[in-house]
Amino acid sequence: MQVTVTVNDTEYTREVEPRLLLIHFLRDELGLTGSHWGCDTSNCGACVVWLDGTPVKSCTVLAVMADGRAVRTVEGLERGGQLDPVQQGFMECHGLQCGFCTPGMMMTARWLLDRNPDPTEAEIREAISGQICRCTGYENIVRSVRWAAGHSAPEATEATEVTA
């Protein structure tokens, strides 16, 4: 069936099978390989993207469920050549080692900061508790998010937020 999904502010129309998972739609149909396909069982969180403004595990959402909705992926964090503070934080604080969990971690972190601009370490850990870093680099991930909390987001972030 035909679906039209707005991904990072660009509308894409594609013919897909209803059983196609959103993560594969993003990676294989649209070539947006920033979101990672990990455990495939909604446990690891490497595939987290925003659906209508809310983080979801895209290995457990069908692409057809996103028809008419807005998706934001890690590729959509950067604005006009300027990295999101979350991305900068991960650079500054060595928030990634192998980098596999990074896109999902960043999407959840951005969402957390939009709702809670000054989260405690415990709140950050709770927010990412459904996401696994197999390098066990949690200390630096938390530090990266804290760094981002101290550096305001570019204006554009607010503007692109979509409410359900």
Partner: protein
């Protein structure tokens, strides 16, 4: 397709535009409601479910609400876990629901998984069926033939089995508000976001003098330990009319443990789960009592 990739088998998909539309679509052969999909899609990947038609009910915003209506709290089937967790009115009247939601899966899964999906999935380790059983909630089911209400204690008829028939939808859960009562849910899990090894929910309505409160009514829900209908009926019966004290709660826990039938699996051996059933029941009762008395 990449090796190791898990993909559901071929399926048709329709998006319901109204409740009536959903019911019509669901009356077709081998149709399944698709809410958050966080139980159904994994089952489809594993071929434990292979419906012919998925009826996406996510557009039915009229099924997404939490409101106090007279002496009942009404929760729409499409309410997301995150919304129930964040609900001030649910937390005020039924802390058991907030306790349970805080430990169901993880924040991202809770953004999308629904209350209705949780109840209809009827996984024997699901947290909410035990919480709603302890609360003696009723559920509302709609079909082409009309509406019926069913006590949640009669809703689950076996593992992964409910009384929802073909062409029907669960539309809401109703929880009675009781005076001088409170509740709690406690769970032991191996790691953040995991299913319970065991969990217990307790609801207590107290009577008698504040210095020596007595149990007027108790509701005890158990999950992951093979309790029939998620209920510890014998322990509830035992408590009625007894002092709301440590001794009664410990005895009730022991009775609950005696009457459940846990099965050994990767989450733990049978005797450990039975031990947890006793301990968690007693602790949940203790916490519910403290809350009812305004001590916690």
């Amino acid at each position: 397709m990449m090796p190791g990739m898990q993909v559901p088998s071929h399926v048709e998909y329709e998006r319901a535009t109204s409740l009536e539309h959903a019911l019509t679509l669901l009356a077709g052969p081998d149709a399944r409601a698709l809410a958050g999909g966080h139980s159904l899609i994994p089952m489809m990947k594993l071929r434990l479910a292979a419906p012919e038609l998925l009826v996406d009910i996510n557009g039915l915003t009229e099924l997404s609400f939490i409101r106090l209506d007279g002496d009942e709290l009404r929760i729409g089937a499409l309410t997301r876990h995150a919304d129930l967790l964040g609900s001030a009115v649910a937390g005020e009247y039924f802390p058991i629901l907030t306790d349970a939601e805080r430990v169901i899966a993880d924040p991202v899964v809770r953004n999308w998984g629904t209350i209705g999906g949780s109840l209809c999935q009827a996984d024997p380790s699901e947290d909410l069926p035990a919480a709603f059983a302890a609360l003696r909630a009723t559920v509302v089911i709609r079909g082409a033939g009309g509406v019926r209400t069913v006590p949640v204690r009669e809703f689950h008829v076996g593992p992964y089995e409910t009384v929802v028939g073909p062409g029907e939808l669960l539309t809401e859960v109703r929880v009675p508000v009781l005076p001088r009562s409170s509740s709690a849910h406690l769970k032991v899990h191996r790691r953040a976001g995991d299913w319970p090894v065991a969990a217990a929910g307790a609801v207590l309505r107290l009577g008698g003098p504040a210095a020596a409160p007595v149990v007027e009514a108790a509701g005890i829900g158990l999950t992951a330990v093979g309790a029939p209908h998620f209920v510890a009926a014998e322990a509830e019966e035992f408590l009625r009319g007894r002092p709301a004290d440590e001794e009664s709660f410990a005895a009730a826990g022991a009775i609950a443990a005696d009457h459940c039938r846990p099965v050994a699996d990767q989450r733990g051996p049978e005797d450990y789960k039975r031990h947890l059933a006793a301990e968690l029941t007693a602790r949940a009762l203790r916490q519910a009592a403290a809350r009812a008395l305004g001590e916690a």
